[in-house]
């Protein structure tokens, strides 16, 4: 089961599996059917439909039927991303979420705390509070000049 679940990745951040991301709240097998409870990162996240379909497909490939249910409560938090997931994310070029109060400071551009995933400098600044997806903000490094995504803290 875990093996099949971890074969499904986030379509937007393909290095992260659904387990790394912490969106699987429950997966149980009953009478030969796999029941999965999936929680969305953001309400309107279009990746959720894709993840649901990918899960069903992954289980059908090992001859199992999966039923996916979307649950809203408790609401997903960026704290649920595993440490392994955070490391993979950084290697992929996305800065990891900061604590809630630091997150507000960096999103208002009042402190320089976000570490550039390319050169590790914290001499970075906010370009846009919203990035390529709702869960990320756009930053730029003032040392190596590379733009990058920052995964926002959601609590």
């Amino acid at each position: 089961m875990v093996e099949t679940l971890s074969s499904v990745s986030d379509p937007e951040i393909p290095v992260l599996t659904v387990l790394d991301l912490g969106v699987i709240r429950e997966a149980i097998e009953k009478d030969g059917i796999i029941y999965i409870k999936l929680t969305p990162t953001y309400s309107g996240c279009p990746a959720m439909d894709v993840i649901g379909d990918d899960l069903k497909k992954a289980f059908s490939e090992i001859g199992k039927q999966a039923k996916v249910e979307l649950v809203l409560s408790p609401a997903w938090s960026s704290d649920w991303i595993s440490e392994e997931g955070l490391q993979k994310m950084e290697e992929y070029g996305i800065a990891r979420p900061l604590s809630e109060s630091n997150d507000i400071d960096v999103l208002l551009n009042s402190k320089k705390l976000v570490k550039c995933p390319q050169c590790q400098s914290t001499n970075t600044h906010l370009v846009s509070q919203f990035g390529s997806t709702a869960c990320k903000a756009l930053f730029k490094c003032d040392d190596c000049l590379e733009p990058f995504d920052y995964f926002k803290c959601l609590k």
Binding site: S43, G44, L72, A75, F130, A134, L138
Partner: protein, 249 residues
């Protein structure tokens, strides 16, 4: 139809129509960053709308789906307030509309999260996290434009002056809202009216803008009597389902 069903739509339709308005800016925002931000906000609102409509569809039964509620109602059946249907006249106007709505929206979600209705509470808890970001974005821009150049200040002031008359309707209680508040499931929005105007005024002052003193307010949207803009919004929104019934992506 039940009060709960109507109550859900009163909240959800605001999100749908505002999402549609913001969606119009996809590819047309004044800069890449603001374009992405506004459409991301649109997406959050649309996600929230879906959760509400799925719940409403379940209550209605009769094999109704969220799509029936979104696409197959007539204008008088939409319960959104007049504020959210106002057009994207210019960026300052879009920001003003967003700001005046976000402050209200967050206060509503903060109350709704304590509703004994588990679904509404779950949607609100999820929504709070997103709406906090929206409010931060819009109030930040109100300050930047208000406290910006002479022209941006003037445009922001005109936008606030013009949109002000729609703010009172946010606190108008429909029959469904009154009934649900009485049952303890819905929120008596009048309880945070004062808090709303206080917070809005504080941001406007920080933005070096003048708080309008206009006491002429207009309402109607929440009871289905919309402004001239609504028909155009629905024509755009409903076109596909009306032309190709039951089509799916």
């Amino acid at each position: 139809m039940s009060n709960l069903y109507n109550y859900i739509l009163t909240i959800a339709d605001n999100s749908l129509i505002l999402a549609q308005r913001l969606g119009e800016l996809c590819g047309h925002g004044p800069s890449l960053e603001t374009d992405i931000a506004l459409t991301n906000i649109s997406l959050d609102l649309l996600g929230q709308t879906r959760s509400y409509y799925q719940y409403a569809a379940k209550l209605k039964g009769e094999d109704k789906t969220e799509d029936d509620i979104a696409f197959l109602r007539i204008e008088r059946e939409y319960k959104n307030c007049l504020l959210v249907e106002q057009p994207n006249t210019h960026f300052g106007y879009t920001i003003g509309r967003q700001f005046l709505f976000d402050v209200y929206h967050l206060m509503l979600m903060e109350k709704l999260q304590n509703s004994p209705d588990e679904t509404l509470s779950a949607i609100a808890k999820k929504g709070i996290k997103e709406v906090s970001y929206h409010k931060r974005f819009s109030s930040d821009w109100v300050k930047r434009l208000g406290d910006g150049t002479e022209e941006s200040n003037q445009k922001m002031q005109e936008a606030i002056n013009d949109l002000w008359r729609f703010t009172d309707e946010l606190f108008f209680m429909t029959e469904a809202e009154k009934a649900m508040a009485k049952e303890g499931i819905g929120i008596d929005v009048s309880t945070f009216k004062e808090k709303y105007y206080k917070e809005v005024s504080e941001v406007l002052k920080e933005a070096t803008l003048t708080v309008p003193e206009n006491k002429y307010f207009t309402k109607g949207g929440k009871e289905g009597v919309h402004s001239e803009h609504m028909g155009y919004i629905l024509a755009d929104l409903q076109y596909m389902q009306r032309t190709y019934p039951n089509m799916q992506w």
